[in-house]
Symmetry: D2
Subunit: 341 residues, 4 copies
Amino acid sequence: MKAIAVHAYGEPPRVDDVPEPEASGPDDVVVRIGGSGLCRTDLHIIDGWFADAIPADLPLVLGHENAGWVHAVGPAVEHLAVGDPVICHPNLTCGVCRPCRVGDDMRCASGPNLPGLMCAGGMAELFKTRARAVVKLPPGAAPAEVAALADAGLTAYHAVRKALPGLGAGSFAVAVGAGGLGHIGIQCLKAMTPASVIAVDTSEEALKLAVTWGADHEIRADGQQAQRVRDLTGPGADAVFDFVGEDSTISDSVAMLRPGGTYYLVGYGGTVTLPTMQLVLGEITVAANLIGTYADLADLVTLADQGKAALHSSRYPLEAAGDAIDDLRHGRIRGRAVLVP
Amino acid sequence: MKAIAVHAYGEPPRVDDVPEPEASGPDDVVVRIGGSGLCRTDLHIIDGWFADAIPADLPLVLGHENAGWVHAVGPAVEHLAVGDPVICHPNLTCGVCRPCRVGDDMRCASGPNLPGLMCAGGMAELFKTRARAVVKLPPGAAPAEVAALADAGLTAYHAVRKALPGLGAGSFAVAVGAGGLGHIGIQCLKAMTPASVIAVDTSEEALKLAVTWGADHEIRADGQQAQRVRDLTGPGADAVFDFVGEDSTISDSVAMLRPGGTYYLVGYGGTVTLPTMQLVLGEITVAANLIGTYADLADLVTLADQGKAALHSSRYPLEAAGDAIDDLRHGRIRGRAVLVP
Amino acid sequence: MKAIAVHAYGEPPRVDDVPEPEASGPDDVVVRIGGSGLCRTDLHIIDGWFADAIPADLPLVLGHENAGWVHAVGPAVEHLAVGDPVICHPNLTCGVCRPCRVGDDMRCASGPNLPGLMCAGGMAELFKTRARAVVKLPPGAAPAEVAALADAGLTAYHAVRKALPGLGAGSFAVAVGAGGLGHIGIQCLKAMTPASVIAVDTSEEALKLAVTWGADHEIRADGQQAQRVRDLTGPGADAVFDFVGEDSTISDSVAMLRPGGTYYLVGYGGTVTLPTMQLVLGEITVAANLIGTYADLADLVTLADQGKAALHSSRYPLEAAGDAIDDLRHGRIRGRAVLVP
Amino acid sequence: MKAIAVHAYGEPPRVDDVPEPEASGPDDVVVRIGGSGLCRTDLHIIDGWFADAIPADLPLVLGHENAGWVHAVGPAVEHLAVGDPVICHPNLTCGVCRPCRVGDDMRCASGPNLPGLMCAGGMAELFKTRARAVVKLPPGAAPAEVAALADAGLTAYHAVRKALPGLGAGSFAVAVGAGGLGHIGIQCLKAMTPASVIAVDTSEEALKLAVTWGADHEIRADGQQAQRVRDLTGPGADAVFDFVGEDSTISDSVAMLRPGGTYYLVGYGGTVTLPTMQLVLGEITVAANLIGTYADLADLVTLADQGKAALHSSRYPLEAAGDAIDDLRHGRIRGRAVLVP
C-alpha cells in the first residue's frame, strides 16, 4: 500500500509502497484510513527536532491524527466490528499501570508509544493501532472530517478542559493563535464555558474566521496586543491559551493575565523566561499541556457530533503530501490539512 | 515609642523614636506588639529591591509579621476587645471588591496595601492595622511565638494548601530549602496530606532539623539532589516546593518532578528559564505563590494551636534588630528571627 | 410610603402606609425599589409555614427579591453613589466571620438575617439593606427586569454552579419544573456547560417556553417521565435539578439519575424518602441548595447583562399585590411576578 | 478443594469440596488464597437480602475480600508472576467502557460483576479473578493481614477520599460506628486530613479502640450523641461518615452536621427520611458510597504498607466459617474476621 515516509531528517518525505499491516496481536486493530491530519509536529519530525528526544527508526511513516473504519481486529477485541467508523488516540497504552487505571493516558508507564513519531503512522491506506486507542465515531460519521481532532483538536480540548474551573461567568479567556489548534480551542471555550473569548493573531483573515467560530473579541497581534487585552478586561484575562509557544508569544501572553491568572502553554518551540519576582507578585501559574486523554478525545468527538466543534480543514490526496507540507510551512493553510488516501 | 525604620536604601535601619499610632478610623485596630518577625523580604526592602515595584516613603518602619494584643479599636469594630491576643494578616483589604467577596485577600482591588513595605509596620511597640486584617489567637496564646506565621508561615501554608488535591496516598512532596519557610511547609504537608516528604537543603544541620519536623527523607543538596529524588520516587515527585527560588534551585526543582507534576515557586530572586519542549513533554505546571488568604492564616493558627505547626524561632530585643539582620544575612538563623519590644 | 405587609398568618397581606426607612447605620443603604419579585416562599410566609422555623414580628413587609436605585447611604459606604442601579442579596451578613471571609454568604455566623422574612422587605417604595448585600447593576440597567434574579435566579444559578464539575461534554442535565426557577436554571445550564438539557414539566405551555430558553429536549410529566429520561440518556442523567421538591418529584427525579449521579434539591415542601440500599447501589448524591452567595448573584447579573439569562416576568403595580398572589397560587404565572411601586 | 458455599438462603453455608478453578481465559488470574474477609454483606447474602437485587445461582461460594498469591495466569497477563502477593478488587471490569477509561471501576458498563455475590468468591483454597482486578502487594506482604482492605477498607477509604476537599484545618469529621469499616475510616481520616476525628459508638470497648486508631474524641451513642457532637464542634461537624446506615443512625448523623455539611452514607439497611425543608435550610448533602475504585484500593494498600492503616482482625480457619459467622452476628468481633485456608 501507499504510505508517506521520512527517509532522512531534513529531506521531504516520500510516497512509498509498503506492506499492509495485519491485526496479528490479540488487541490489534487495523484501520482503513479515511483521513490523516498534517500537523506542525510533522514538520518538526521531518526537520529532525525530535531525533534525540523521541528517537525512531527511519524510514518512518508519518501520521498521528488518524481516523477511518475498522478493517480488521485481533482475537481479543470484542467491542469493535469491521466497518465501524473510528478515530485513533495518538498514544498506545498498556491499560494496567496506575496512570492508565485513572485515565491519565499520556502518562502510561509503558510509553510514550506514538505511531507516526516512533512507529508507523496513518499517512497510508491502512494503519495498525490497538484496541485501547480506538474511539468509536457516531454511525455514519465521515472520518476525514474529524481526523485532526485526534491531536490538534485533542490538545486544544485538553487545555480548555483543565481551565474550566477558573472560567466562570464574567471571565475572559484569550486564544493566542487562531489557527489549527486555536480554532478548536475557541469553539471548545464557547461550548463549555460562559467566558468571553478574545482571539489574538497576526493575520486579519484568521481573526475574521475566529469570529465565525465564536470569538467575542478579536485583537490583531501588532505589538500592542497585551495592552489591548488589559484595556478590554480590566485586571487582565483569567486564562491565556498560547497555541503558538514561541518566545514572543510567551512573554506577551503572560502580560495579558490578571493577577492569579493561568497561562496555558500549548504550542512549543520557544523558551519560557520569566523573573520569579513577576511570577510571585502576580501569583501566575504556567500550565503546560501534552495532548490529552482517551476520554478527552471521546468528549471532543461528542462535541463535534453535536455541531459544537467543527474542524476547518483542507483535503489533499495522500500522494500530494508534499504540497500539503509546503503549504503548511508557508502559512497557506487555515485550520488543518488532511491527507485522504 | 521605639520603632525600627529604614531611612535610606542600602543602609542599616535605625532605632527611632516615633509617635504612637491611634485608632482614628472606624475600622482601625492598634495592636500592642508581642513579636514582629524578621524576613528575607526585609533584607530586600533594606537593599532597595522593591524601590520601584512597591514604592514607599522613607523613613519606613519595617515589620510585616506581627502579633500581639489589641490595644485600641475604632468605633465600628465590634468583634475585637482590648486585650485579645491577635495575629495580623499582612495585607489591608477593602472587603467589598470581588476578590474580597470570595476570600482572595491578596488580590483586593484596592491593594496591595502592605504595612512594613508600603506604610508603617510592626517592628515597634504599637502597630496600626485594620479590623479585616486581624485574626484572633486562642485565649492565652503567646503572640511572639506565632508572629512569623503571618508571612513566612502563611506563605508556606498557602502553597501547600494549593497542592492538596495532587498529594494523595503514595505521593511524594519535596521541600527545597528547610529553613524559615520550609520548616513550616514540611509540618503542613505532614499534617494535611499522606505524602512522603523529602527535605532538600545544603546544610546538614537544617536537614537534621527537618527530620524532627516530620520529613520522611532528607537529601543533601550537593549537585546530585535531583537524581536522588528520582531514585527515591521512581517517576519523580508529584510536587516540589521551592522555598528558595534562585536560578539553581529552579532548574533542580523542575528536574525532580514526575511527568504531570507541579513546581510550586515560593521563594524568589532568580529567573525561571525552561524550554517549552521540556515543559510540554513533561506536562509540567509552574505555580507561583503570593503569601496567602485571611482564611489560610486562620487555619494555620488552628494547626499551630493543635501542635501540628510549631515555629522554630530565635528572639531578639527590638533594639537588637541590627544583630538579627546581620545574623539573617549570614545564615546564622535556623527557623525565624522575631523582634520583641 | 406604601408597603405590602402580612398582619396575620393565613390572611392576605394588606397595602399599608408605613414610615420611610433611613440610612441611619454606618453601612446602611436605602434603595428606591424598581421592582420586588413575588416568590412561592412569600406564599409559604403568608400561610405561616415559617412561623416556627424563621420567626418574625407581624406586621411584616414582604419582598426578598429587590432591585432599584441607591436612594441614601450610611456614612461608611464609599463604593455606592445615590442613583446607582442595584440588586440586593437576600441575606445581610457581618463580613468578619469565617463563612463571610471565604464568600459563603448564606452561612454568615450572625445570620440568617433575611429582609422580607425576618424584617421589612422590599415590597414597598423604599427598602433598607446594608452595603455588603448590594450588587451594582450595569449603568442603565432596568431594576424591575432583574429583581427576581435576587432569589429565584440566584437559587437556580447556585445549584447549577455547584453541578458544573460533573457536567462535561456529552452529559445530560434535567430540569424538573420549567417555571420561575427552572427557566433560569435551563439558561444557566446552557450558558455554562456543554450538557444536553432536558426540561420536564406537567404543562405543555411551560415545555414550549423551555425550548425557547434553550432546552434540548422536553418531556411531559405524565407518570412516564423517569423512564423517558432513561430512554433518552442511556444510563440516566448526570444531574437532575428538582425545582419543585414535592414528594412525587423527588422519587421521580432520583429515578432519572445514572449510577453515580447527583440529585440537586432546590424546591422544597415534600420529604426525601429513599432506601439506603437504592442510594448505595446507585452511589447517588442528594445535594440540597440554599439560595446562593453574593458572588453568585454578581455572576448571574453578568450573565443577564450578556443576554445569557433573561427573566421571564409579569409586572404588577405594588397595590395589585393581592392579584399577583392569587395568580401565583392558581398557576397563572409563567416565569416570575414582579411588583413595581 | 474446600470452599464455603451458600446452598439455600436463610441456611448456614456449608464447607464443600469443589473443583479447582483454572486460568482458562486470556486475562484470568487464579489466586491461592491467604485470607478472605467476612463481611456484614455476607450475612445479608446468606439471609437472602440480595436475592432480587443481585441474583446468583446457588450454591454460591462466598468471599469478596480476597488476598493471596498468584497461582496461575492466563496467556495475555504479562505484569503478574506466579508467587506475587496480591489483593483483589471486588468488581471484575471490562477496561474499555467510559467508566473504566476514567477509573470509575464500580460503574463498569458490563457490570457489576462481583465474585462472592454473583459468582464463586474467595472463601476457598483457590480463587479465580481477572488481571484488571488484581492489585500487587509489596514484596513479603502477608495477604491474610490485609484481605479485609478489599471491601471494608476500600469502602471506608473511598468515602474518606471523596470528603477530602471539605476536611481542611480546623474541620471536624465524625465516624458513626467504630467497627470493621469505622476503624479503617478513622485511620484514613487521620492519615490524609488535619480534621479532628470524633468516634461515636454504642460500645465503650469500641470507643477505647477508636482512640488507639487515632480518634481525637469519643462519644458514647446513648441518645445524646448528636447534641454532644454539636457541643464539641460549635456549628456541627463538616462531615459525618455513617458506617452503620440504620434508621436511627441516619437521623442522628444528619443532626450532627454543620450547615453546609455532608453526610456520607456508607453502611446500609435503613431508609433515609428527611424533610426537604431541613435539607434545604441546612444546605445538607447526602453522599452515598459504593465500595471504591481500583486506584483507591492501590492507595489504601500503600497507606497500610506505610503503617498508616492497620486492620484489626481475627483469624478463623476456613472450616470454622460457621463460628466466624455466628460471632459476627452476635457482635463478638472487633475489627474484621478473616478466613484462612
